[in-house]
Symmetry: C3
Subunit: 469 residues, 3 copies
Amino acid sequence: MSLVDPDRLFPAEAKLRGIARALYDSVSDLPIISPHGHCDPSWFAENARFPDPAALFVVPDHYVFRMLVSQGVPMADLGVPRVDGGPVETDPRAIWRRFAAHFHTLRGTPSAMWLTHAFVHVFGIEAPFTAQTADRFYDHIEAQLATDDFRPRALFDRFNIEALATTEGALDDLAHHKAIRDSGWQGRVITTYRPDTVVNPECDGFANNVARLGALTGEDTASWAGYLAAHCKRRAYFKEHGGATATDHGHPTARTADLPQSEAAALFAKALAGTCSAEEADLFRGQMLTEMARMSLEDGLTLQIHAGSWRNHSAGVLRQFGRDKGFDIPRRTDYVGALKPLLDAVGMEPDLRIILFTLDETVYGRELAPLAGAYPALRLGPPWWFFDSYEGIRRFREATTETCGFYNTAGFNDDTRAFCSIPARHDVARRSDCAYLATLVGTGRLGEGEAFEVAQDLSYRLAKSAYRL
Amino acid sequence: MSLVDPDRLFPAEAKLRGIARALYDSVSDLPIISPHGHCDPSWFAENARFPDPAALFVVPDHYVFRMLVSQGVPMADLGVPRVDGGPVETDPRAIWRRFAAHFHTLRGTPSAMWLTHAFVHVFGIEAPFTAQTADRFYDHIEAQLATDDFRPRALFDRFNIEALATTEGALDDLAHHKAIRDSGWQGRVITTYRPDTVVNPECDGFANNVARLGALTGEDTASWAGYLAAHCKRRAYFKEHGGATATDHGHPTARTADLPQSEAAALFAKALAGTCSAEEADLFRGQMLTEMARMSLEDGLTLQIHAGSWRNHSAGVLRQFGRDKGFDIPRRTDYVGALKPLLDAVGMEPDLRIILFTLDETVYGRELAPLAGAYPALRLGPPWWFFDSYEGIRRFREATTETCGFYNTAGFNDDTRAFCSIPARHDVARRSDCAYLATLVGTGRLGEGEAFEVAQDLSYRLAKSAYRL
Amino acid sequence: MSLVDPDRLFPAEAKLRGIARALYDSVSDLPIISPHGHCDPSWFAENARFPDPAALFVVPDHYVFRMLVSQGVPMADLGVPRVDGGPVETDPRAIWRRFAAHFHTLRGTPSAMWLTHAFVHVFGIEAPFTAQTADRFYDHIEAQLATDDFRPRALFDRFNIEALATTEGALDDLAHHKAIRDSGWQGRVITTYRPDTVVNPECDGFANNVARLGALTGEDTASWAGYLAAHCKRRAYFKEHGGATATDHGHPTARTADLPQSEAAALFAKALAGTCSAEEADLFRGQMLTEMARMSLEDGLTLQIHAGSWRNHSAGVLRQFGRDKGFDIPRRTDYVGALKPLLDAVGMEPDLRIILFTLDETVYGRELAPLAGAYPALRLGPPWWFFDSYEGIRRFREATTETCGFYNTAGFNDDTRAFCSIPARHDVARRSDCAYLATLVGTGRLGEGEAFEVAQDLSYRLAKSAYRL
């Protein structure tokens, strides 16, 4: 069996495998709903060709280059730009060869599976990828990238994507999204409101960012009321001009707060003045999650909370190569105490959608499933980041389903900036879920007819309803 | 395969399944030992018929109604009484129809399996339970509930229950238990001493409760010595008049303490005066666990610690509908530091039985199994609450057996207030354990002859010995 | 199937089992690399016969006797010496009979598997081990221990051990290792530098120990610079005279620090003066991990961190029987914040080897794999202590491989003081890893040819390279 075997990821036992295959066959052709991710909207606005194989597969993908770095390959040798503009490898073929020479270090990882899937299914090249075959792969992929069939919009259509959400900061002008809409191309690429830079007092330039938010919205963001009004307006702008159906919030913890408005206003003033302590900054971020949830009650945007990552853990890597370089490390994260203020404020609202993500798998069964199995506003997002994988999905289902069922989960999302991995990721998720469902059917925990319904729900319907797509 | 397939929950692979089936066949007819739960003793004292299907299956079962609430059904529409006595649904058939219409949201949960088992094996009705069949189910169950065969004592006998423990507060007069004994009916229904209201300074009316404990026992509970003596007397009363063999303690944490008696007395005085801080209240609860363990050394009652639940997490639900409404959420719980004072005091006593329960599965392998695999006084209780399920039992066995073996565990208990689910729960536990044992046998980790012995132990003998039944 | 079935620990499904068997057959005869453990070097220096079966299998093995203690057998009845020299059982046959009578309490544990393996494969006796067969086992083993074929060096050769590391304190004179080298025997038994007694200010006699370190090295260990220089010299001594390739550090937490040298020197002065608070002692230990890592950069010794055990949890057992009596209990352990100072100092060094061990399995996927999958200096040690087992290894691979692959792990080590269990432990590890690899192959997550390469790596090559053996 190979990494592209038609039965991959299904249970080994023949009867379970048969059930899994039947379930998968019923969902494998469904359109892809990608309600959260980090693709660059300019790809679809400009529809330019991708530069080269290394720029497509290696340089922007921290899943890939962090593994090579962990095995002793200098980051600069993989073409990752330095903060100081100092010299790094610029020859894409040299980068590609290093990637190939270390491809075996990815054995057993989802990246190996995604990359192989893209080589085979997107670029039609099936040989083992090694130092020996590196050039052959390079030349083949390079030749295809030069054709119109491999431009972003063509791939988007080929991938059968029904909707793809990108993520933009609150100050973004959404020019690319407007260009996509104006172009006449029918692909549905929408934005997501990500206000970290105007919500997090510890963000560089916070006060300036808030002032710019004011300028963009015509609100007096020096006042708490004006600041909240500016968010409301900006959210409406993201809905109207970028098709947004959701907001996204990446906080170090899941802390929420629901202060009296006068205290919140005073805290905001300190944040603007740059005099918040670390504790107060955290409190302000927590307050803003509750404020955002209240706005969601009004405008219907789904609220996503991505909590628990210690970003840019290595001081040296941050200094030399900047943010998002594969050195973000999860930490233990509490949700039960952290979310209580938010949940006491709006958790019982049946029309609100709050989607929780975690990098701390210990909370699946202990905290998240019991919360989502009680509060109407909560849904559980799919396994995130390191856990977007066969084992990660298995653990998620095994730990949550018995407590909150399937219908308090939100379907799959790929959360990727690696465009060519999107079909592979959704395929892995559908296969993994079908493997899980087959196991339930084969051990008398779910009826077979029910399993076919649930497979549709997990692959397609739940994502649409959780994100109102 | 259906949810009542004879081979349900057994491994899919044919050889393992055969072993599991043989193991299960050897224990499936053993009497049920239910040493911990929350059935209402009045059922067996009065032996009145159960009012209606909704009152039997929906209204009192927070496993069920919290799931419907999480999907947007208002709690009042399910007949859950309001604290203020305000209007809620009173038509049992309307409640039942809502239940049926949302039954699919329970897919994959143990509740779906328990309910289906009760429908089929208790009430003899096997159709899919949906909005379409709701009335048929209702009428069928209602008709049976009207017959003598479905009165509590008849069901108790039919369920082959050898012993059933209920749980009563320390101030309970045990009138129902006395009525059962006086009735001449032979069913063994016993009580458990649960002193939370007279042990927890944060409990409403704590001082009054302690005064009542004094009145009941003729001890001066205004003094620390009298208070301890009153507990001793009340425990003896529970043993003599209710057949109690155990006590039970539901604390937010597993904290224990072993203060000098003078400090404990001073703390008790503060507790009575209502001047304990939250920290002091926690310390007092911890001290009382150690005191209770010392009393157990004298009177032989098994001590159960159920730690780690954040009770009544939603302020709104607590305000409108009161306690125990499905909004109790587990939290991370430390046992290693928390139990040390208790264990230093009495942990090496070979005749003491302390049974530990947790809602934090991360402690199974890291803390509880190493502790139980060393201290003679400790036994591990079965997976509790959200984890009383196929996957929960599997994780428990996989995480604990290699470190503390089988003989430091305490068999199964159902911990339920849903009487009709008792056979289903014990059946799931027996099947899940046999599936685990079959896997050990099939992979050379346990001899087949040994497995048959262990199956008897897990299904019957360990519960009897852990609770001295 | 029995505990010594040739297919034990392989997946039950026939096709997976076939793959697992083929993988295992390709590695089962590889020499054993045992790069970390606690065998007594005097065994190989003196090559005296082992005293008796109880002294070989029961009295020194806290895995075994703690289980019997947990079931109510007094520790003294098992011959464990008392601190006060008071009476304990001295008849080895009486100890052996108690062991046999309680052997069933080890069912399902790795100890049962290791012991059975040793009985069968080392001593050639295959009957069930029970109270009835206890004497037969005793007489058989005793007779064999009296022969030259069962002396330590003969067993070492029979076990096919290529290299075995013991662990000695920094003040050890390595006389046994020198004797081994001088003996002309070719077995490679090397030491490991374990400086806890001269690094931990809370260790009894810390200041004296440091003074002795000074005397041994000719450095002025009253000064910080001299103290560091003494460590450097002592490490060199361990390399030269004991063949050491690694150091080992057993700390209660994974805390590290990288203080300015002047602050470190001041802290050291407090440590010597015995005036460190608990917090300062912890800080000093953390500082020394970073100092040791810097020395490793110079001398190439691999640095091992074994963190997270609450040693000697029972005050009573510690008082009566002393340290290391099976009452060491794991605790929740943070690595992300704890290791940051060390990693900021040396984590990006590609030639450094830091091997992380944990007793908190929750950090495998959440913390350790993300760290090891990024920092070049880090490798993950195999499952440790309670988790050196089939399920422990399975959970380790499932939780880490997808994030950090295979090549950021360090192969297996047995970490044992039970010499006869070494072949059994490596066999369990090889079988468990092959079972995991077979599952990957059978579900399309790894090519079959790749799996054979990885099996060699996990069984042999990774341990050699991680420890530079």
